[in-house]
Amino acid sequence: MLINPTSPHQGDSWLERNIVDPSERHDSPIVLETKQLRVFYGENEAIHEGDLKFPEHQITALIGPSGSGKSTFLRSLNRMNDGVATVKGQILYRGVDVNQPEIDVYEMRRRIGMVFQRPNPFSKSIYDNIVFALRRRGVTDKATLDEIVETSLKQAAIWDEVKDSLQKSALALSGGQQQRLCIARAIAVQPDILLLDEPASALDPISTGKLEETLMTLKQKYTIIIVTHNMQQAARISDYTAFFNMGRALEYNETSKIFTRPKVQLTNNYVAGDFG
């Protein structure tokens, strides 16, 4: 059966929602929570409602068809949509609403880092890429910088591949290595949360595998929220999954439940491959 998600003829089934609260069934605390989050591009409302709670040291995957708003939602979380879109509602980071004008966005973005769809290293050496943000924060001690470079690259599982060529241009690395370098660069400032916007979509399967392994180990230290259009990827690595459609988070639950016993019809259709 083919179901058109935009068709109003199916009654209100396309508005059917099922959002769980991870804090009720999980002992890890909630680090990030959105309340009545709405995002506008000019007059156009891209996110109608997204009330989600993200548990600490877990990987949460945001899935959904193209244009469902999952990337817009993610980019709003660390205010990367500032100046691009209007974001209304609350984004509670450990209880503090970071979506208010008084917030120092630069300090907030240090704590909530982001890795983009396309690997975007600077046209500098590998070493300079990693220490870029640290130098901007006034860290100049060579020994400290060296140590952070090593631990960040090790955590991103790329140290063995680049340790002998730290002064080489980051642009000489392969796409997969560049993406892991970008992760290392993001964790060099010791963030709390890592947001990843389809980080593997430009990578080949082997690089994707390595990236996923890296993320699995990183979750011990960081809370990870990842947008992906690859459902197998979401099923493989995430603990929680949110399904977005038409600017709404329709279903949010433990990943195993989303993929085996979805409660919302549209989620079922999507994970079964009927649309999207």
Binding site: R109, R110, G113, F132
Partner: protein, 308 residues
Amino acid sequence: MNNQLKKQLLKRSKAAKLERLGKSVSFLALMLITVTVFAIIIFVASKGFSTFFSNHVSFVDFITGKNWNPSVTNAKGQPEVGALPMIAGSFIVTILSALVATPFAIGAAIFMTEISPQRGAKILQPVIELLVGIPSVVYGFIGLTVIVPLTRSLFGGSGFGILSGTCVLFVMILPTVTSMSVDALRAVPRYYREAALALGATQWQTIYKVILRAATPGMLTAIVFGMARAFGEALAVQMVIGNAALLPTSLVSPASTLTSVLTTGIGNTVMGSLQNNALWSLALVLLVMSLIFNLVIRLIGRKGAMSK
């Protein structure tokens, strides 16, 4: 049957003829431009070199001589055709105006692209385009009526000189350098900005450490372009610089540039005479310099392309 097909395929269709015509027209246009450029270079070179070959002036004396008075012969029996004052004047006004214009141009370009793109596009862009379109005689006239009296009252002297020339050239090259810097900044990929901002860098840190670094080749091209324009500008400079073929002793002493001597002198000399040939030699220096500027721009562009 087969014969008919053969006939159809071998017959030149109307479309094929038009195609051929179009190709030859565009090739002719290209040839016309190329021939013109080479003709100019050969003409100026042959005229310019005749000072050294027909009039037997030594090239070194020409480049290093400090006295410009082609109708007078010096103690050695050689005509006084020392071009150093003009060469120096041209370089000084060019470098000074570029030095003054660059910070303003980069600042305006940053404002237009990074800080307030909307206002930049609405207000600054039209203003800059307008400034580019103003004829140079207007700049010169404003320089003559405003800047020259101002420098006269501030620093004494006649008011004509390098300083006035620099002021006029600064305003003239500012829009060129700005609009090219804007292009260079806009060409920096968006993901560089995102990468820096997502790491918690402030907007200024992003501009200074990432965007400006990435745009450096383009900015250098913009500055060299501005310098080429300043070096070649004749009319406006001639109106305010004083036109004395002397080595400038201060910023407010009257001086001259290659272009100003050319425009004032070329109509008052007889073709083929030494006075006329000496001016052509100045034109040759000017041409060689603009070729060098073009070469520098290409080199910067190539280096920029490699580092990306």
